[in-house]
């Protein structure tokens, strides 16, 4: 490997609380992110994604293990790490009583950009994020999508080599989400490394070059979306058959497909039979030629490729949407 990873996380552990009440939010996570790629941490709420990126963003100290950004240890030199990263958090964190332009200018000031540079970058980013017309309005009046775009713009003011985004499209309507995805793809194409967390399969699938699935504070599997999907196997083809006579039909199909598919690739299905094949598109013509005959009436056909949902199910034993009521309540005394 000639390129050094911009993020190196080594056996990271974060324990909240002490004694019996303690929880291991992050339980020995190790991963690296190559410069210029878009890396996703995918997992359900409470899996440890946010804790991991809070440690990387110098907001939280790890209990054990180390994390480096551009070769700099986040615990030893947080100030140096902060100069190199842009951060956008789960719910676009903005000062409701600042205007869009003021928000960007403050970010520029804190990063010590020269005055002229601040003005130029702010104009450029407001234009890029289609916020020029609301630049002098208070951010409290912005829509959800506008807040996200401004938050992203403020993270980009100092042109950081690394952008860390926590659930960048959470709570956005589909249209704003697609627009933000396009924006992230553009930023990624310009060479900025992006680390994001998500619990949307579609988002991970579309955006990420590589992703790590996190569950219960551990990485259960890591790879490109394609690799992960191929890794769990095969396409499924369901043939709908008129009046299926369970055993008889299954037996008939197996006989006719002998030599083409092994018997155990053919299974009963409520609507007819299902077939497991390496490549559905290629297998279907041959299958249909063999099955065509008077004793079987095929009334329909559908096929499916493995999705990241299936990958998640395979490695964690559950669907990502099975959530638990264990979020922290942040109102009142605690």
């Amino acid at each position: 490997m000639s390129t050094t990873p911009i993020i190196e996380v080594d056996d990271l552990v974060k324990v909240y609380g002490r004694g019996e009440k303690s929880t291991r939010a992050v339980d020995g996570i190790t991963f690296g992110v190559e410069s210029g790629t878009l890396f996703g941490l995918l997992g359900p709420n409470g899996a440890g994604k946010t804790t991991t990126i809070r440690i990387l963003a110098t907001l939280l100290e790890a209990t054990h293990g180390s994390a480096r950004v551009a070769g700099i240890d986040v615990a030893a030199e947080p100030h140096e790490v902060r100069k190199r990263l842009g951060l956008a958090l789960q719910t676009a964190a903005l000062d409701a009583f600042s205007t869009g332009r003021e928000t960007l200018e403050l970010a520029g000031r804190m990063h010590r950009l020269p005055r002229a540079e601040i003005k130029r970058r702010a104009d450029e980013l407001l234009e890029l994020m289609s916020l020029s017309h609301v630049a002098s309005k208070l951010t409290g009046t912005y829509s959800g999508g506008m807040k996200r775009r401004l938050d992203l713009a403020s993270a980009l003011m100092h042109q950081p080599p690394l952008l860390i985004l926590d659930e960048p499209t959470e709570g956005l309507d589909p249209q704003s989400r697609t627009a933000l995805w396009e924006e992230l793809e553009r930023i990624s194409d310009s060479g900025t490394t992006i680390l994001l967390t998500t619990h949307y399969m579609e988002e991970a699938d579309r955006l990420c070059d590589r992703l790590a699935i996190i569950d219960n504070g551990k990485i259960v599997v890591e790879g490109s979306p394609g690799e992960l999907k191929h890794g769990i196997g095969e396409d499924t083809v369901v043939l709908e058959i008129a009046e299926p006579d369970n055993d008889g039909t299954l037996e008939l199909v197996r006989n006719r497909l002998e030599g083409l598919l092994p018997a155990d690739a053919v299974a009963a299905h409520p609507a007819g039979v299902s077939l497991s094949v390496a490549n559905a598109g290629r297998a279907i013509p041959g299958v249909l030629r063999r099955l065509d005959g008077d004793s079987l009436e095929i009334t329909g056909l559908h096929m499916s490729h493995p999705s990241l949902d299936d990958v998640f199910l395979r490695y964690t034993g559950r669907r990502i949407r099975e959530e638990e009521a264990d979020a922290y309540i942040t109102m009142g005394w605690y």
Binding site: T58, L106, H111, G332
Partner: protein, 256 residues
């Protein structure tokens, strides 16, 4: 140090705009002392016949310094709210993830409190003068009162910041502020110490709010009484050091 000053300047400018852009912030601070000033100066105008008021020309003249301090007190009472809200929304995290000194975030909230308390006190002071109160020491006295009110704001800010940072709850913070109201009511804002029951007289020997009111009263009605002013400054310094230390500790705990 220059980094701290630089960051405090820009962060403080932001918190000041945040304060000014919500009229409810300053209206709610001004309204209460203003009402007390207008209503009580009329309602109790005959009270100065009582012995403790011997040297006073009008109850308005007696009441005004107390309401000036009351305005500064109210400016402080909810001063920790902004930081609390930004901790909750995550904006504070955003600032912390920038190359910003952690203490700049706190001083960007604290330093404006000086100016807010001074400005609020100044408005009540001007209204008092318009109603007929006098400042015998003139413009220098007026400015000195603003500085004292600002110092009072800084020294007492901890009564809002500490509960805000420790409980992280708006309700708890505002309830705690309410508990401090009796300290103001028991001060010499409304009646001289001679008319109070013995135990309250003892309390007032130690009440920094009374010290400040007496100092301002001398500046307005009599002339500079450096002993009273000195006592006010020293008591504010002592309380300020204790509360600021508590605030620094609570903030450090929050942002660790």
């Amino acid at each position: 140090m220059s980094a701290l000053a630089y960051e405090t300047w820009y962060l403080g400018r932001r918190t000041t705009m945040r304060f000014l852009r919500v009229p409810a912030n300053w209206i709610s601070i001004i309204a209460f002392p203003l009402i007390q000033l207008l209503v009580f100066s009329q309602l109790y105008q005959e009270i100065i016949r009582l012995p403790g008021f011997a040297s006073e020309t009008s109850y308005l003249a007696y009441l005004a310094p107390g309401q000036v301090v009351f305005a500064a007190f109210l400016a402080v009472a909810w001063s920790g709210f902004g930081l609390l809200v930004e901790y909750r929304t995550g904006y504070m995290d955003k600032l912390r993830a920038m190359p910003t000194r952690r203490w700049s975030i706190l001083s960007g909230e604290m330093v404006p409190v000086f100016f807010q308390a001074a400005a609020m006190a100044g408005i009540i002071l001007i209204v008092s003068v318009l109603l007929g109160a006098t400042i015998v020491t003139g413009v220098p006295g007026f400015l000195l009162i603003l500085v004292l009110a600002g110092m009072f704001g800084l020294s007492l800010a901890g009564v809002s910041f500490i509960p805000a940072l420790l409980t992280r709850s708006e309700q708890a913070t505002s309830t705690f502020s309410l508990l401090l109201f009796p300290v103001v009511f028991m001060s010499t804002a409304f009646v001289p110490v001679e008319l109070m029951p013995d135990w309250m007289q003892t309390v007032n020997e130690w009440n920094p709010i009374s010290k400040l009111i007496e100092a301002i009263r001398s500046i307005m009605n009599v002339g500079y009484d450096w002993e009273l002013i000195g006592q006010a400054v020293i008591s504010m310094a002592i309380i300020g050091i204790i509360l600021q230390a508590g605030t620094l500790w609570a903030f450090g705990r929050l942002s660790r």
